[in-house]
C-alpha cells in the first residue's frame, strides 16, 4: 500500500478516533494530521508482523495521549456544540448523543470504545492499548453499560420534560 492509499483508507477512521478522544473537530483534524505525519515518517520501519490497521491506530492512539502534555488542554466533554461537524451527513440525535457520552468517559476508555466502534477485533485493541484481551473485554462491557445508562437517563429526562410541557 502506498501512503496515499493508506491515507484515503484510514484518515476517516483515524479522524473519528481522534474526535471520540477530544470531542473538538479542529483539534481532531490537527491530531489526524499529526498522526499521518508520524505514519509517513515511520512507514519504512513498518514491519508486516502486525496488521497495518493496528499499526496506524496505535500511532493515532498514542498521538491522542500525547495531548496530555500540551499546555492548557481542557476537557471538552461539556461542549456538545462541537459535535455538529463530525456527523453532519446522515446524523441523527442518537449518534450525536453517543459522541457526547463517549467524550464524558475517562481518556483510555474513550480510545477503547472508539476502536471498538471502528469494528476492530478485541485482540487488536488489546495490542494497541497494551493490556490483556480479557481486560479489554471487561472494559468494553463496562463502557457499554455506562453509555447505555447515560442514554436511559437522557430518555427519562426527555420524558420528564415532555410531561411538564
Amino acid at each position: 500500500m502506498t501512503f496515499e492509499e493508506i491515507y484515503q483508507a484510514y484518515s476517516p477512521k483515524v479522524y473519528r478516533l481522534c474526535m471520540g478522544y477530544v470531542n473538538d473537530s479542529d483539534l481532531a483534524k490537527d491530531l489526524t494530521q499529526e498522526s499521518f505525519i508520524s505514519v509517513w515518517q515511520n512507514l519504512s520501519k513498518f514491519r508486516n508482523d502486525s496488521a497495518i490497521g493496528t499499526w496506524i491506530f496505535r500511532i493515532a492512539a498514542n498521538n491522542c495521549l500525547r495531548q496530555l502534555e500540551k499546555e492548557k488542554w481542557v476537557m471538552k466533554a461539556e461542549l456538545p456544540t462541537e459535535l455538529e461537524d463530525v456527523i453532519q451527513e446522515g446524523s441523527n440525535v442518537q449518534e450525536k448523543l453517543l459522541f457526547k457520552f463517549i467524550a464524558e468517559l475517562e481518556e483510555t476508555d474513550r480510545l477503547i470504545i472508539s476502536l471498538e466502534l471502528e469494528e476492530l477485533p478485541q485482540a487488536q485493541i488489546a495490542e494497541i492499548i497494551g493490556i490483556s484481551e480479557g481486560n479489554i473485554r471487561v472494559k468494553i462491557h463496562r463502557i457499554k453499560e455506562k453509555i447505555l445508562k447515560k442514554f436511559q437517563q437522557h430518555e427519562q429526562l426527555q420524558r420528564y420534560k415532555t410531561t411538564l410541557a
Partner: protein
C-alpha cells in the same frame, strides 16, 4: 480533511527541523568553545588560575549543551508506532522525570562551575589592581553570582518543575486507568 500532499510536505519539514535543532546545538557548542579557547590563546594568561577558570567555564557549557543534546535525542527515539499506549505513557513519564532531574542537577552544577571559573579567571587581573579596587570588582561579581544563584536559579527551577510535575501527574493519572483489574 487535509490534503495528502500537505501531510507529506509537513512531515518533511518536521524531519528537517528536528535535524536542524540538533545541528544548531552542536554549532553553538563548537563556537562557544572556539571563542573561549581563542581568548586563552590571544590574551596569553600567565597564571594557572586563569587557565583553570577558562577550562571550568568551558566544561560547564559543554555539560549543558551535551545534556540538552542527549534529551533531544531521547525525545526523537520515541516511537509511537511500535509501542502500546500503556508502554508509550510509561515512556513519556520516564522522559519527563529525566528532564526534571536534568534541569535541576545540571543547572546547579552549571552555575557552580561557572561561578568558580569566573572567580579563578579574575585573579590574574585583580592582583595588578589596588586592593580596594580588587575588592570592589570581586564584590560586584560575586553579588551578581549570588543574585543568580539565590534568586534566578530557584525561580527558573521552580517554574520548570511545576510544568513538568503537572504533566507527570496527568500522565500517571491516565496510565493508572490501564492497571489490570482496575
Amino acid at each position: 480533511m487535509p490534503d495528502v500532499k500537505e501531510i507529506i510536505e509537513k512531515a518533511r519539514s518536521f524531519n528537517a527541523k528536528a535535524r536542524f535543532s540538533v545541528l544548531r546545538l552542536n554549532i553553538v557548542l563548537s563556537i562557544t568553545i572556539a571563542v573561549v579557547l581563542g581568548i586563552l590563546i590571544y590574551f596569553k594568561p600567565e597564571y594557572l588560575t586563569t587557565k583553570i577558570g577558562v577550562l571550568l567555564a568551558v566544561i560547564a557549557m559543554v555539560m549543558v549543551i551535551t545534556g540538552q543534546n542527549k534529551m533531544i535525542k531521547m525525545l526523537f527515539k520515541f516511537n509511537s508506532s511500535e509501542e502500546s499506549s500503556q508502554q508509550y505513557l510509561q515512556n513519556l513519564i520516564l522522559y519527563r522525570n529525566r528532564l526534571a532531574n536534568f534541569q535541576r542537577q545540571t543547572m546547579s552544577i552549571y552555575f557552580a562551575l561557572l561561578s568558580l571559573g569566573i572567580g579563578l579567571y579574575m585573579i590574574e587581573y585583580t592582583v595588578r589592581m589596588q586592593w580596594a579596587y580588587a575588592l570592589l570588582v570581586y564584590s560586584i561579581t560575586f553579588a551578581w553570582i549570588a543574585v543568580n544563584w539565590f534568586y534566578f536559579r530557584p525561580r527558573q527551577i521552580k517554574k520548570q518543575q511545576e510544568k513538568v510535575n503537572e504533566m507527570i501527574i496527568q500522565l500517571e493519572r491516565v496510565s493508572s486507568q490501564l492497571i489490570e483489574g482496575a
